[in-house]
Amino acid sequence: MSEPLSRPPFGRFGAQPLAQLLPRGADSLTLGLVLAGFALLYLPTWWGLAHTVWPTDEQGHGPIILAVSGWLLWRRRDALAALPAQPATLSGTVLALLSLLLYVFGRSQSIWLFEVGSQVTMMLALALLFRGWAGARLIWFPLFFLLFMVPLPETLVAAVTTPLKSAVSQIAEQLLYVLGYPVARSGVTLFVGQYQLLVADACAGLNSMFTLEALGLLYMNLMQHTNVARNVTLAILIVPISFVANVVRVMILVLVTYYAGDEAGQGFVHGFAGMVLFMVALTLMFAVDRVLQLIFRGSSK
């Protein structure tokens, strides 16, 4: 403790006794049992996700969501431990039993929605059982955030993706046409010059919409924006923002193909367009947030 400021943060982190990583004042046996039980249930789930769903485009954000939720929870560890124990035993027990049922059914019948979804309700149940409603209120955001890692049922994804993809292709085509490019479209196939491009599922933007929505919520949470109306407005506006960003991505790919050929459009530029998507979307999101700030500050005067 003689020279805490001159040390790099990781050095300090490593030098901390283990006890400081854990919630202050918590009973280690209780904590150990709860963590062990939770790990027993959900380590296999994360392992399974890591080998099936996470490597795909649709759920690439899964591990990040899990890590961020974990970090957000960990940040609240002391506050959680400091809360007086006023357990909501009945609600907690019912919810915990339901979560276990959901888990057993989902895991044995391979229904990700149930299996992964149950970890959110299980954490809520644990908060209720050990701390009560105040505890649940304290960790509601990390739990809500965790919902973004629940893989959606394929049926739903397919039902939303197809029309979304058509809309993205249609608008990209119209805009390029107005700009004077020789484009035509049939379904989700775009023709430009002598080239033909198929708008892939990933370009429908359902996944990027989810990732952006998660990022937006995280941003609001970390910025500690407290105006509910403003936060809700921003959360809703992220949907059209990500749609616009996807149209931009498709247009960029069409233009790259038009000027530089098929190879370029399919090569590294494809991944690069994905980056552009997020840059466009995040820029738009921050811009919209600034505007909302002005509007809501104005209205609160």
Partner: protein
């Protein structure tokens, strides 16, 4: 109750749930008990005025699409039939011995759209077979000047399923009993601008095809009790 006791009970519950979820995972494939044999032989090559049209060169899917198909289906039959009036029908039968979550038959309204076709008029229909109707889906896929009315359905074990949800529910009927069902996707289509006429042609074609199969094997394509005449 003190927190340690609570934590111990939770831990016990977790051990129980974890064990239970492992014990309840379906293990037995019904395909092993009742193997389908060669799909190529099961689907009649010739019946009631229809025969395989060898004049149409088989268009093979792109390698990446083929790799995806191989991963999903164990057996795939894809043929064009022609009748005396020169009408042509394209038939695709895809069979998967393990219809668990990862290996689900892909529905045409999704897979055609994903390959650049525009799809429209997706509707539920009935295919009338002697003695019963089976639920089917119909849609029209277009790409440029190619207009392709499609009739399709899926079987999960002995059940016929139309939508993704129906498929999942049919699958659950097996998996909750520890069984892994097999599944099959039947797709009948032709190139025509006349939708109602095309669908009547599909129905007539299927009736002929099913009638030409041994009665105890028909259920594999159109569902129903194994061994019963459909």
């Amino acid at each position: 109750m003190n927190p340690r006791r609570r934590a111990a009970i939770f831990f016990g519950g977790s051990v129980l749930a974890s064990g239970l979820s492992m014990a309840l995972v379906p293990q037995r494939k019904i395909a092993d008990r009742n193997p389908i044999g060669k799909l190529d032989d099961l689907v009649p090559a010739q019946f009631e005025g229809w025969a395989i049209d060898h004049s149409i060169p088989m268009i093979l899917p792109a390698p990446d699409v083929q790799a995806k198909l191989d991963a999903i289906y164990n057996q795939l039959v894809s043929r064009t039939y022609v009748n005396g009036q020169g009408e042509r029908i394209m038939l695709a039968v895809a069979y998967g011995g393990d219809q668990s979550d990862g290996l689900r038959a892909h529905r045409p309204e999704v897979c055609y759209a994903a390959q650049g076709f525009a799809t429209r008029n997706l509707q539920d229909g009935q295919l009338a077979l002697p003695g019963r109707n089976i639920p089917v889906r119909r849609l029209v896929a277009t790409q440029g000047g190619r207009i392709e009315p499609i009739t399709y359905w899926m079987t999960i074990g002995t059940h016929v399923a139309r939508t993704g949800l129906e498929t999942k529910l049919a699958q659950l009927r097996y998996s909750t009993r520890g069984l892994i069902p097999d599944g099959l996707l039947m797709r009948v289509s032709n190139i025509s601008r006349d939708e109602p006429k095309s669908y009547r042609l599909h129905d007539a074609f299927m009736n002929g095809l099913v009638a030409a199969m041994p009665a105890q094997e028909r259920w594999r394509l159109v569902g129903g009790e194994p061994g019963s005449a459909a």
